[in-house]
């Protein structure tokens, strides 16, 4: 009974501390995961609480559970439309990129630790995959909004590169313990991992999405059903010899992209579950490590980490992306820098321990040290790098809060809450607002009191408005409530003037006295900019031409609909 009580006490205490410490992260700028790891280490055998924990089997189980939930949530949140620009580069990074990273790091580890080739490669494979979940929680926490090409690539890469790293690790572990068959077996293993993961993940994921949309449940049960189906997909795939991690990510993707009111119940819960997984996982991993033992490897591990950050990752990104896709140099630079390692390498480092590889503690401690280093060096400088590499796109106003009313399930109205920050709305009567026709202001809050908004009510700065409307109304509403500071930032980025993508180049040229080459007269401005950018354009891309920056400021699918004119000053 006592052990149960102390389990409650300790897990509650550590979780609560971790969650409260997350506030610290936004204040100090320390990566969150680092704080969780640190707390785990503090609670561990050489820390203040001195908890003895070296159950690798349990940690392995927790690791799998947590990773599965994190990937499920990642899939739920990835919009399929970002696949337009991100899928192919991400796939290249997830396969070729992981392979190159593992190879380079493996070679260096071999030399640093005086290992055999296979042992060195195992180190490389373990630290081969990135953890962009960490990246995204950091970036969104700082209000950094990446351009779609970079954001989508990183997001999809992180969801899909774990299977490759897991495959390489498993394979090398089997080579080391002497259980591997011939190259044919190895190849078959690879095909099974990816093929089954793909087929089951997408297939059952799609069915699950339909089921979730169709079935009528108590609100609290949707998220549980989604979780259960996710686990089912994971288990089934892994049981048949496929990659459960890939499958559960794809299942999440399928579920998250099936619109309907059930998503409103699923997403918040899974957000919480992903947090719980992150915290739990890192606490456990922090508990598992023996800092003094890690210190023993600290110096050589630092070398491996630096090689990973400054040589292997940039090289891998360069080779996996630059020859095949039209990325700018600064975008390649940023993606190289965001090779953040997170939980996956540490969990993978438990494989050799479980598999009974000789000298297994080396892998675990090195992986741990590399992740720590990566979190400190790369994680700490992310938002600074995003600014420096100019991969940010300024974000306009969005509602402070929004929520479905749940009255019409098929095409529901939502409540949007805005704060009046826009100076130009000061003293403006409500009837003069250019409101979308279907939307209404249902309540107005001023100085902690609710007013009944009438057409003649004058708005004041700091008023909080509850607007009822549909998601189609958002662009117009956002524009209306966009504050001075944001509009200025947007204008500095996109330029003062905005032209329609449909405008004909010959007209644009005539208006500004620009010379066109033959063949360009017949194009629209959108086509022209698209051609100059090359590949798939995204919002924020710009082209310098005739002393003007032509900036893509709005897209509909693959078509440029608005182009900003930023004048050199």
């Amino acid at each position: 009974m006592d052990s149960i009580n102390s389990l409650f006490l300790l897990s509650g205490l550590l979780l609560a501390l971790s969650i409260l410490a997350s506030r610290l992260s936004s204040l100090v700028g320390l990566p969150l995961l680092l704080i969780f790891l640190g707390l785990g280490m503090l609670a561990g055998e050489e820390g203040v609480l001195g908890i003895q924990f070296d159950d690798y089997g349990l940690a392995f189980l927790i690791g799998h559970l947590a990773l599965a939930m994190i990937l499920l949530d990642g899939g739920l949140r990835t919009r399929l439309k970002t696949f337009r620009v991100g899928f192919k580069p991400a796939l290249s990074l997830a396969t070729l990129g992981v392979f190159i990273t593992s190879l380079v790091v493996g070679g260096i580890a071999m030399w640093v630790f005086e290992l055999s080739l296979v042992q060195g490669l195992l180190v490389g494979a373990i630290v081969g995959s990135t953890d962009a979940a960490a990246v995204f929680s950091m970036l969104s926490g700082r209000g950094v909004n990446l351009n779609e090409r970079v954001g989508a690539t990183l997001e999809i890469e992180s969801g899909t590169n774990d299977p490759m790293a897991i495959f390489l690790t498993l394979m090398l572990v089997e080579v080391l313990v002497g259980e591997i068959g011939g190259p044919v077996d190895t190849l078959l293993f690879l095909i099974k991992q990816f093929g089954l993961g793909l087929v089951i993940g997408i297939g059952i994921g799609w069915l699950s999405a339909r089921l979730l949309r169709w079935v009528d449940l108590a609100p609290g049960l949707y998220s549980l059903l989604a979780l259960a189906l996710g686990f089912l997909v994971f288990g089934l795939t892994a049981f048949l010899g496929g990659s459960g991690f890939l499958a559960i990510y794809l299942a999440g993707l399928m579920i998250g992209n099936q619109p309907g009111r059930h998503l409103n119940f699923i997403l918040p819960v899974h957000d919480g579950l992903a947090w719980l997984s992150q915290i739990g996982l890192f606490l456990v991993l922090g508990l598992l490590v023996t800092p003094s033992e890690m210190l023993h490897y600290a110096l050589p591990a630092l070398g491996v980490a630096l090689a990973l950050i400054f040589v292997a990752r940039p090289l891998a990104v360069l080779l996996a992306i630059k020859p095949f896709f039209k990325f700018r140099w600064r975008e390649v630079g940023f993606i190289s820098w965001v090779g953040l390692r997170g939980a996956v390498p540490i969990v993978l480092a438990i494989f050799p321990v479980i598999g009974g590889v000789e000298n297994a503690s080396l892998y675990f401690n090195v992986a741990f040290a590399v992740v720590l280093m990566s979190l400190v060096i790369q994680g700490g400088s992310l938002s600074y790098m995003a600014r420096w590499m100019k991969v940010e796109v300024p974000l306009g106003v969005t509602p402070n809060r929004r929520g479905p009313l749940g009255i019409l399930p098929e095409n529901d109205y939502e409540m949007f809450v805005y704060r009046v920050e826009n100076q130009d709305l000061d003293e403006v009567p409500i009837r003069l607002l250019r409101f979308p026709s279907g939307a209404v202001i249902s309540a107005l809050f001023r100085q902690h009191a609710m007013l009944h908004p009438k057409g003649s009510t004058l708005l004041k700065q700091g008023d909080v408005l509850c607007v009822i409307g549909r998601s189609e109304d958002l662009p117009v509403l956002n524009r209306l409530f966009n504050g001075e500071a944001r509009l200025k930032r947007q204008q500095a980025f996109f330029g003062t003037f905005t032209l329609d993508g449909d405008a004909l180049m010959q007209d644009v040229a005539a208006a500004y006295g620009l010379t066109l080459s033959p063949g360009e007269e017949g194009m629209t401005l959108g086509e022209f900019v698209s051609l100059r950018v090359g590949g798939h354009p995204v919002v924020g891309d710009d082209v310098g031409w005739h002393g003007i920056h032509w900036v893509v400021s709005e897209m509909a699918g693959n078509k440029i609909t608005k182009v900003g004119l930023r004048l050199y000053q």
């Binding site: 100076q423 130009d424 003069l432 250019r434 117009v476 524009r479 209306l480 966009n482 001075e484 509009l487 200025k488 204008q491 500095a492 980025f493 003062t496 003037f497 905005t498 032209l499 329609d500 405008a503 007209d507 644009v508 005539a510 208006a511 500004y512 006295g513 620009l514 401005l525 005739h546 002393g547 003007i548 608005k562 182009v563 930023r566 004048l567 050199y568 000053q569």
Partner: protein, 162 residues
């Protein structure tokens, strides 16, 4: 080329009847043709409206900066209109426009064109300037406010290019 020099007092128009975007541009075209004999009102109007077709020059916060090149324009010229009633200008933020800064440039002055545009945009981007312009209640005050804003902007220097 300074903005002050191409914006004489008589081209700062106060209490201009609004109506619609088209009416406002028509009003300015007629006015500028009378003010500057070399210009033809129909041509000015069609150039300005042609530019609007490519995308509105309403830059937000109730400001529009219609601009066009014109073959009969010997030197750049500017005009400012404060409308009596805001009109729908199809602006980026959807807000109706009541402050209109018009620029006409000769065909050959392309670099000057862009430099002037950037300068006007910089001036009109200032919230305080807009407020003062809106609160002006005479033609004289409007013009003085405008010139003062132009000078203030010139002194502060152009903002560092992003």
């Amino acid at each position: 080329m300074t903005l002050q020099s191409i914006l004489p007092p008589e081209r700062a128009l106060f209490d201009v009847p609004g109506g619609s975007k088209k009416r406002v541009l028509e009003f300015f075209s007629t006015f500028i043709a009378q003010n500057t004999p070399s210009l033809d009102s129909q041509e000015v109007f069609s150039r300005l409206i042609g530019r609007e077709r490519l995308g509105s020059t309403g830059i937000g916060h109730g400001v529009a900066i219609p601009h066009a090149r014109n073959a009969h324009c010997k030197a750049p010229l500017a005009g400012f209109l404060k409308l009596a009633e805001p009109v729908d200008f199809d602006a980026v933020d959807g807000e109706p426009v009541d402050l209109v800064f018009v620029l006409l440039v000769p065909e050959e002055a392309d670099d000057t064109h862009l430099a002037l545009l950037a300068q006007v945009a910089g001036i009109m981007n200032d919230a305080e300037t807009r407020q003062r312009l809106r609160k002006s209640d005479s033609q004289r005050q409007l013009y003085d406010t405008l010139i003062e804003a132009i000078e203030r902007h010139a002194e502060a220097g152009p903002p560092a290019s992003p």
